[in-house]
Amino acid sequence: MQSLTNRATPVDRRPMTFAEKLYLPAIAKGMGITLKHLFKKKATVNYPEETRPFSPVFRGLHILNRDEEGRERCTACGLCAVACPAEAITMEAAERLPGEEHLYREEKYAARYEINMLRCIFCGFCEEACPKQAVYMSETFAPANYQRKGFIYGKDDMLIPHPQKQIKENNQ
């Protein structure tokens, strides 16, 4: 049979020599190997204190973005929900009322916007589908929770803070 790689080695079926039958050299060798591991670099990351650096294309939890003036970008077009293969996104649209122009960028906005993080497969299609550059995926992943309903992330979980309000609060 032709071998697939050049790494294949034939099995050694020779009868064991006396030294091999003693097992002790083999045991000593094994113990040498484990002893070396005592001093090796640990593979474990001390999780809450240290985190693994993510790659720049990592797709973590979603955030809903605002524009430069702090208005919500999402116009509740539903394209993200359509693009979502896991059907994780639910939303309800509402009409912007006069006097709310500083809150929402378009005439229509998402009154309710939820992503079920238990369904989401973090494929990033929603991010790609969004024509308004409203939904982005961040570099954090879903924290643990005791109840399933805790994994349904609403707008208050995902909407990034208002930039100007934030500046004002920080100056106070």
Binding site: I33, T34, L35, H37, L38, K42, A43, N46
Partner: protein
């Protein structure tokens, strides 16, 4: 005959017993921590590091957890034996520490205080007897829980301990031929002046080491417990502190057999050039204790090191090693030692 009670003697011994018990328990406690650390390091992990600095409070947390867990005695179990099993395991584990010389004697307020609870002239015999009793803890535990798996594991454990006690005894006999005494104190004192017995008895030491692993039920000889083939082993039905006792007894056993190996083959509290340092008695004794504990910790580390290197034996391999390899080897070792001793004493005039 006048009969007086030496109260100082009694107090001194009581203090010593408490100290030895306390130290054994603490060492056993921290062996559990050490075991997890060594395991982690060997596997490139970190091990316990949350409870206290370096996870040093982990044994306390584990102990607390064991105490608060629900205790279950199976309905069909023999309640008396079920409780007796772990107690016996713990009891026999602690009992062996009585004859070990933990150091030379201290002079306190003009009194010579020997750091050995009982210097009996059959010290090693006592240890062998008590270790032999240790198997009852396992056997009773496996029997009393009325579980076929536990019983199987207990049978395996019992046959293993019995099989390995033989070569252990034979290896020791060769040692006694050289030392001419069964008292552990004597054996240490001889190594203080002469060579360590490991130099004179390398094969005997190897046999003793292997048997000590088997007697302590440590990997690769941990047949009484087997999570994959027997759902856990002889302590399958045990929960809470009763399980804790079994596990704890294992660590005490490990500690005591490490001390024993250090004492019998590595000079115990004696260390090279100790008498040419020109130190006074008490100081030397304290250094001796430190030396003994260093040797002991090395052996405890060895136990752990081996555990995380070598896989468990198959049952038939275990029996083959015990009966077909170690016993003949120990007999041969005994024969050669005997011949050498005889030759040294009489030349060829038998």
């Amino acid at each position: 005959m006048e009969f007086t009670i030496d109260w100082y003697f009694l107090i001194e011994k009581l203090l010593l017993i408490s100290a030895v018990l306390g130290i054994s328990l603490v060492v056993a406690m921290y062996s559990t921590w050490g075991e997890r650390k060594v395991a982690a390091w060997i596997q490139d992990r970190r091990g316990p590091n949350r409870a206290g600095p370096f996870g040093l409070l982990q044994p306390l947390a584990d102990g607390g957890k064991l105490f608060f867990k629900e205790e279950i005695i199976p309905a069909q179990a023999n309640r008396f034996l079920f409780v007796l099993g772990p107690s016996l395991a713990m009891f026999t584990a602690c009992l062996t520490s009585a004859v070990i010389p933990w150091g030379d004697s201290l002079t306190i307020a003009g009194r010579e205080v020997s750091l050995q609870i009982a210097d009996i002239n059959i010290g090693v015999l006592w240890i062998m007897a008590v270790v032999g009793m240790g198997v009852y803890g396992i056997m009773i535990g496996g029997w009393a829980s009325n579980n076929k798996f536990s019983l199987l594991a207990a049978c395996r454990g019992a046959s293993q301990v019995i099989s390995y006690e033989l070569p252990m005894g034979l290896a020791l006999i060769a040692l006694f031929m050289l030392s001419g005494s069964l008292s552990l104190k004597d054996i240490v004192e001889q190594q203080r002046d002469g060579l360590w017995f490991v130099v004179l008895q390398p094969i005997g030491f190897l046999i003793f080491l292997i048997c000590a692993f088997a007697e302590c039920n440590r990997t690769p000889f941990d047949l009484p417990e087997a999570e994959n083939e027997l759902n856990g082993g002889y302590h399958l039905e045990y929960s809470s502190m009763k399980l804790g006792f079994y596990l704890f007894a294992e660590y005490i056993n490990m500690f005591i057999s490490s001390v024993l190996m250090a004492t019998l083959y590595f000079g115990g509290y004696a260390f090279p050039y100790m008498d040419s340092l020109g130190l006074d008695g008490n100081m030397l004794t304290i250094l001796g204790i430190v030396a003994l504990f260093l040797k002991t910790f090395f052996f405890i580390f060895l136990f752990m090191w081996v555990r995380w290197t070598i896989p468990r034996f198959r049952y038939d391999q275990l029996m083959k090693l015990g009966w077909k390899v170690l016993i003949p080897l120990a007999l041969l070792n005994m024969l050669i030692t005997g011949a050498v001793v005889l030759f040294r004493q009489n030349g060829f005039n038998f």
